[in-house]
């Protein structure tokens, strides 16, 4: 193309520039500005995803060079108890975390919305954990839940000999330990979202409900919550995509233990790719994570964008 390059103006006068030229030159600065986005989308979001999917069907071990083996990696994956435990854990943790985050976040937002004193102090206290990393969150709670010197030890020293709070050392309870730490970090954020939603409700709706004599709780349940559908959906999507990524918190709080009782898929992927030397297996697990996200996202995207295409 370079050899046919006329001075731009002359070319434009004689005839329309060639298709390729129009694609490149029209609005050029905007395309330069958007170049990082285009590269990111093509190379990372599309390219890497396809690469991962493709190589999950190979028997790559230390290097991604293996030969195509079909769904063998997936068969192995679901035959591995560590993976199955990871998936079960994630589902249990995810469902509980989603429900509790939404319920607690909403209740706190409602309470804060009752024209209380010290509103900003309460808000500050509830949101600050969200500024902290999962590593910090996990390590603090690891210390609090330390069976000998943490909360349990303290209570026993104080005289409650039977006080038990050994969840991080108890395979059956360890998920709830994760949950306590996760909720501590994330509920404040949900509260802020919900509060924004509550404050967005037209004040005259509240007045109208009072004139109609509708009790406050009923106004929330029957009128306000349905009006907050948008905020609720946003919260579910954000909390949900955070749950699928759950990794740092587990590494810091339990490192998957005791045994494999608090393993999660993200950690499984990491361990097989970077420590286990079984890339194909890691990629297959990653692809399964992708699949689960798509299963969550498609209905949401359909609901949000499908209907009338009312948004820009």
């Amino acid at each position: 193309m370079a050899d046919t390059a006329l001075p731009l103006e002359a070319g434009a006068k004689v005839n329309r520039p060639s298709l390729l030229k129009r694609i490149i030159l029209h609005n050029l600065p905007a395309k330069i500005a958007a170049l990082p986005m285009m590269v990111t989308v093509l190379v990372v979001f599309v390219g890497c995803t396809l690469w991962t999917i493709y190589y999950s069907f190979t028997n790559s071990k230390l290097l991604p060079t293996g030969k195509f083996v079909g769904i063998e990696q997936y068969e192995r994956l679901f035959a591995t108890s560590r993976w199955n435990v990871s998936v079960t854990n994630l589902i249990t943790y995810g469902v509980l975390s989603l429900i509790f985050t939404l319920v607690v976040g909403f209740i706190l937002a409602v309470l804060i919305d009752q024209k209380i004193r010290f509103e900003s102090a309460f808000r500050t206290i509830m949101l600050y954990p969200f500024a902290l990393s999962f590593i910090v969150t996990g390590l603090v709670w690891q210390w609090i839940m330390n069976p000998t010197l943490g909360l349990q030890g303290t209570m026993r020293n104080l005289g409650w000999e039977n006080f038990t709070f050994d969840w991080i050392a108890n395979p059956r309870m360890v998920l709830y330990a994760l949950l306590i730490a996760g909720l501590w970090q994330g509920t404040g954020f949900c509260m802020v979202l919900m509060l924004a939603g509550l404050r967005g409700v037209d004040e005259e709706i509240w007045k109208a409900a009072r004139i109609d004599g509708i009790p406050t709780w009923r106004t929330y349940v029957s009128i306000v919550v349905p009006m907050m559908r948008g905020v609720m959906v946003t919260a579910v999507v954000i909390i949900g995509s955070g749950i699928v990524r759950l990794y740092d918190l587990v590494v810091a709080l339990t490192n998957g233990g005791p045994g494999i009782s608090s393993e999660v898929p993200a950690k499984y992927v990491y361990n097989y790719m970077f420590s286990g030397g079984n890339i194909g297996q890691g990629l297959a697990a990653a692809t399964m994570m992708l699949l689960s996200v798509i299963i969550i996202l498609i209905p949401w995207a359909y609901l949000e964008f499908g209907g009338k295409g009312r948004r820009t």
């Binding site: 037209d202 409900a209 004599g213 009790p215």
Partner: protein
């Protein structure tokens, strides 16, 4: 006759801000009262106090002879219509109308009867299964009125109900509200900043400023005999022409020396010594040409600007140095630069003390 709504010595403060001050107001059964004033004058606040949506700082409120000062809104026997309609968005029109009744535990057939009656009165039967999002502004406002209607109450409160509508719909619904009042004969208290709505709808208008009722009277009196400069200036568009000057006996001398004899003016109390005063004349009370010559006061003036409005024509001129607007028939041909004779009868004007701003 029993007053429908009585307000006794009502005050409301937000912190140190006095929003309403020692306000008294008696509203007769079936009366249509309009609270009129600019934003921030306290008219909506007063309405919210009557509704029980705001706690008062002092004073009492009676509705139907009952002291409701401490009662919940739902127990006061009122219905209310809001500016933003405040319809419950996820409920159908039918459920919007019936929600309050059902929450109160009313029998199903009674709920249905009331909804059907309200829908019939407001002609919204075809809309009952729709959601508010699928209604036009005018339809939404009808549903909002319907929600007050089904409560079967004596007092309706309207908080700027037409302000979110376009001009055409506004005048349509205005007529409709008036028709509704004739049919239901409820007491209605209506808040607006639109003087046309006030003048057309009200039995009596309460003009408010800074939390105080300036004048409470029928629209005719408010328009023709404003009690003070504020009311005179607020009501009427274009504004009343105001001449500043001195009044001595029945002779008014404007600041730039024009002398107007005000013999015909009906003074509330005759004044003697020379006092600073303001003479106000409405644009439509200024006559032109031969009619002007017949008036107690007339003068030659040069037309500066002509604004044809369709139904009539507005013209801008000067008496002395003072800009004056007058209104004349749209058939009259006048042009910029033309010299005309204009005149008025002070009896139709208003004279205010410059000191107290009250009507003399």
């Amino acid at each position: 006759m029993q007053n429908s709504v009585s307000i006794r010595d009502l005050s409301l403060n937000f912190g140190s801000v006095k929003v309403l001050q020692h306000l008294d107001l008696d509203i007769a059964q079936g009366e249509f009262i309009v609270l009129l004033g600019p934003s921030g004058c306290g008219k909506s606040t007063l309405l919210n106090c009557i509704a029980g949506l705001l706690d008062v700082s002092d004073g009492q409120i009676f509705i139907g002879g009952k002291n409701v000062t401490w009662l919940e809104p739902k127990d006061r026997g009122i219905g209310m219509v809001f500016q933003s309609y405040a319809l419950y968005p996820q409920m159908t029109v039918e459920r919007n109308l019936s929600f309050g009744l059902r929450v109160a535990g009313m029998k199903k057939d009674e709920v249905e009867r009331r909804v059907a009656r309200a829908a019939e009165i407001l002609q919204i039967e075809p809309l009952l299964d729709r959601k508010p999002a699928n209604l036009s502004g005018g339809q939404r406002q009808r549903v909002a009125i319907g929600r007050a209607l089904v409560r079967d109450v004596d007092v309706f409160l309207f908080d700027e109900p037409l302000s979110n509508l376009d001009a055409k719909l506004r005048s349509d619904l205005r007529v409709e509200i008036k028709r509704l009042h004739h049919r239901l004969k409820n007491t209605m208290i209506y808040v607006t900043h639109d003087q046309i709505e006030a003048l057309t709808l009200a039995d009596r208008i309460a003009v408010m400023k800074n939390g105080v009722i300036q004048q409470l009277s029928d629209p005719h009196t408010i328009y023709n005999k404003p009690v003070n400069l504020y009311v005179a200036g607020f009501i009427g568009s274009p504004q009343m022409n105001m001449f500043e000057g001195t009044l001595e006996g029945t002779t008014f001398t404007t600041a730039d020396g024009t002398v107007v004899s005000v013999d015909t003016y009906d003074f509330a109390a005759p004044s003697n010594g020379p006092i600073q005063a303001v003479l106000g004349v409405r644009p439509e009370h200024i006559a032109l040409g031969e009619a002007a010559a017949a008036m107690p006061f007339s003068i030659d003036a040069e037309i500066e600007i002509v604004e044809p409005m369709g139904s009539d024509t507005l013209a801008w001129t000067k008496i002395g140095n003072k800009a004056v607007t007058f209104r004349c028939d749209s058939d009259v041909v006048i042009e910029t630069g033309q010299m005309v004779r204009i005149g008025f009868d002070p009896a139709r004007g208003s004279i205010f003390s410059a000191e107290t701003t009250n009507r003399l």
